[in-house]
């Protein structure tokens, strides 16, 4: 286990380095770049621009800039936001939990519903339910998340007036119920795609398990079909799904960005868009790195959990 962890950690660090190089190059090498926002300021001369570049350390070779950035990053200094001069870490931390709340809720919803659909599809293979679920999943995968959100807002907020159209809480309220009711629509919208993916994989995972000998043994012992399913099939079918959950993380983050925009949810996605439009590159870079760290961490945790739960897998 220890050697596995070290190995994976090493791999993750190498990956993060590549990720950071890609991100850094994209943001600094391409025309535009951090200085572009000043170029349009009235009365800006070339000397002023050069002075600014020097102040910001942008006149140094890219390699030097990169290693400087990397060194500070390792010391926990993610730079300061161009927009309000606050440390990037603080800015991101303020938005992080809103995104995690949204993603977590949505994950619970999609795992719950997706698992149910997947198992039912497998046990009732080629039934009407199975066909509808299959085609439905394909359609769900094709619906633009933001558009699903818009339709949701139109139906449930504007016409039926059951749910709020956006934001995380009502100003001046902020009770648990208030948060909960604001959370319903965005988390379901974000969950749609994942329900589709999850149910497809769950179906095939269940089918893989359902015909194995130990399931027949369980039946032969005279267990009820329900018990066989719950105790012997589902648990085993869920194992590969843990890995899937880890792999779905970047998609979930992407979806969260769009969902947050539609529902004016004050999370990382909105922060990313706002920072982009203000050319606030330290924050953009911080968010790119953080999302990569979250992704790698998610995959690592998924692998560890699988190994802990499944005695057949030995991490070496």
């Amino acid at each position: 286990m220890a050697s596995f962890l070290l190995n994976r950690l090493g791999q993750s660090i190498i990956l993060l380095l590549i990720v950071s190089i890609i991100g850094f190059t994209v943001l600094n090498l391409i025309p535009g770049g951090p200085l572009a926002q000043y170029a349009l300021t009235p009365g800006m001369t070339q000397e002023d621009m050069d002075r600014l570049a020097r102040q910001m350390g942008l006149d140094r070779p890219l390699m030097v800039q990169y290693f400087d950035w990397l060194w500070r990053m390792l010391q926990g200094d993610w730079g300061t936001s161009y927009r309000d001069g606050q440390p990037v870490v603080d800015v991101i931390a303020r938005h992080l939990w809103a995104t995690l709340l949204l993603m977590g809720t949505s994950m619970v919803i999609s795992v719950g519903i997706g698992t149910w659909i997947g198992i039912r599809g497998a046990t009732h293979r080629y039934s009407a339910f199975d066909y509808v679920a299959t085609a439905g999943a394909m359609v769900a995968l094709s619906i633009p998340t933001f558009w699903f959100g818009l339709v949701g807002i139109y139906v449930f907020a504007l016409r039926l007036e059951w749910l709020p159209a956006g934001n995380m809480y009502t100003i001046g309220d902020g009770s648990f119920a208030d948060y909960a009711i604001h959370l319903i629509m965005p988390s379901f919208v974000l969950a749609l795609v994942n329900i589709a993916v999850w149910s497809r994989y769950m179906r095939s995972a269940t089918l893989d398990v359902i015909n194995q000998d130990f399931v027949n043994t369980a039946r032969a012992k005279g267990l009820t079909e329900r018990r066989v399913l719950m105790k012997h099939v589902v648990g085993n079918a869920l194992l590969p799904m843990i890995t899937l959950a880890g792999m779905q993380l970047p998609n979930l983050l992407s979806g969260a960005l769009v969902t947050e925009t539609v529902f004016t949810w004050p999370g990382m996605g909105r922060l990313f868009l706002d920072s982009l439009s203000y050319s606030d590159y330290p924050v953009v870079m911080g968010l790119l790195m953080l999302s990569a760290v979250l992704t790698l961490l998610g995959n690592l945790i998924a692998d560890i959990v699988v190994a802990l739960v499944d005695p057949r897998i030995r991490l070496a």
Partner: protein
């Protein structure tokens, strides 16, 4: 195995098992019909409509669908939505198509090289693939789109840059499994160059999975274009695209819901169709299917 005389059945592609299996896949056929219809409508339709997509008529703002000859209504500037929708379709479909070509080329190239060479080359290339996969694709795409000039060509390139990894992984895995096969050894013994073996001998055997992945990439690319254009970093108005037609739709959602509903529905139909076709091709070409 006994040899069966097939000489009286000429080997025509439309009689092949693959085509027959595809034709039995009803959803895939439906998708095919939808895409053909959509493409024809987008490229021929604008000539049949009474209004130009850029014609602004401020007296006819926010006309609901089916007012006069505005079959799908008008937008906040009084432009005809039907005309804009079809013209946007030309752009969105082309972005999807060319992004697919580009990303399939990149992915295939990297996948073949990584899979065939193995060793250090493979390790380096596949780590780069992993690194790209570690970014949520929209984050990377938006960062690129914000910095580069968002023309349709640039958006196509950006989408391709962020969606070639899937193909690379598939091709890498397939080529890796073919690398030790006899026909490759035979090629080496004949003294063929590795480039020849990689692209002329091995690659044709991987075409099935590549075609399936490419079809699904079109679907993905259309969706991605819609996402970045919706967020304002994609195709820029007055050039219409399915995504940017939705860009301003949210603020008029109460007053003019059709502004949001019509383009979104069109995107969904197009993307669903490509996904159906991809699924049909997967069955037809007998590509191993994890999702069963």
């Amino acid at each position: 195995m006994t040899a069966i005389d097939l000489s009286d059945r000429p080997n025509r592609w439309w009689r092949s098992r693959a085509v027959q299996r595809f034709m039995r896949h009803r959803l895939a056929l439906l998708g095919m019909v939808m895409i053909v219809a959509l493409t024809l409508a987008c490229f021929l339709g604008p000539y049949l409509l009474p209004y130009d997509s850029l014609y602004i008529d401020l007296r006819a703002r926010f006309a609901p669908p089916l007012t006069g000859q505005h079959y799908l209504g008008t937008d906040p500037l009084g432009r005809d939505i039907a005309a804009r929708l079809l013209e946007a379709g030309q752009i969105s479909l082309q972005v999807g198509f060319y992004a697919m070509i580009l990303s399939t080329l990149i992915g295939t190239l990297i996948g073949v090289i990584a899979g065939y060479r193995g060793g250090l080359v493979s390790a380096v290339l596949m780590r780069i693939v992993d690194a790209f996969l570690a970014f949520p694709s929209i984050f990377l795409m938006l960062a690129l789109a914000a910095l580069l000039k968002p023309s349709p060509v640039m958006i196509t390139v950006i989408i391709a840059i962020t969606s070639w990894m899937e193909v690379a992984r598939i091709v890498d895995a397939e080529v890796r499994s073919l690398r030790e096969r006899e026909f490759v050894l035979a090629g080496r013994m004949l003294g063929l160059s590795s480039t020849h073996i990689m692209f002329r001998e091995v690659l044709p055997n991987v075409l099935g999975p590549i075609i399936v992945a490419a079809t699904l990439t079109v679907a993905r690319a259309i969706l991605l274009e819609a996402y970045i254009s919706f967020l304002g970093y994609g195709i820029q108005p007055p050039l219409p695209s399915w995504g940017n037609m939705l860009n301003g739709a949210q603020q008029y959602l109460d007053k003019a819901p059709w502004l949001a509903i019509i383009p979104g529905l069109t995107i969904t139909i197009a993307v669903t169709s490509f996904n159906f076709i991809g699924d049909g091709l997967r069955d037809a070409l007998d590509v191993r299917n994890d999702q069963n």
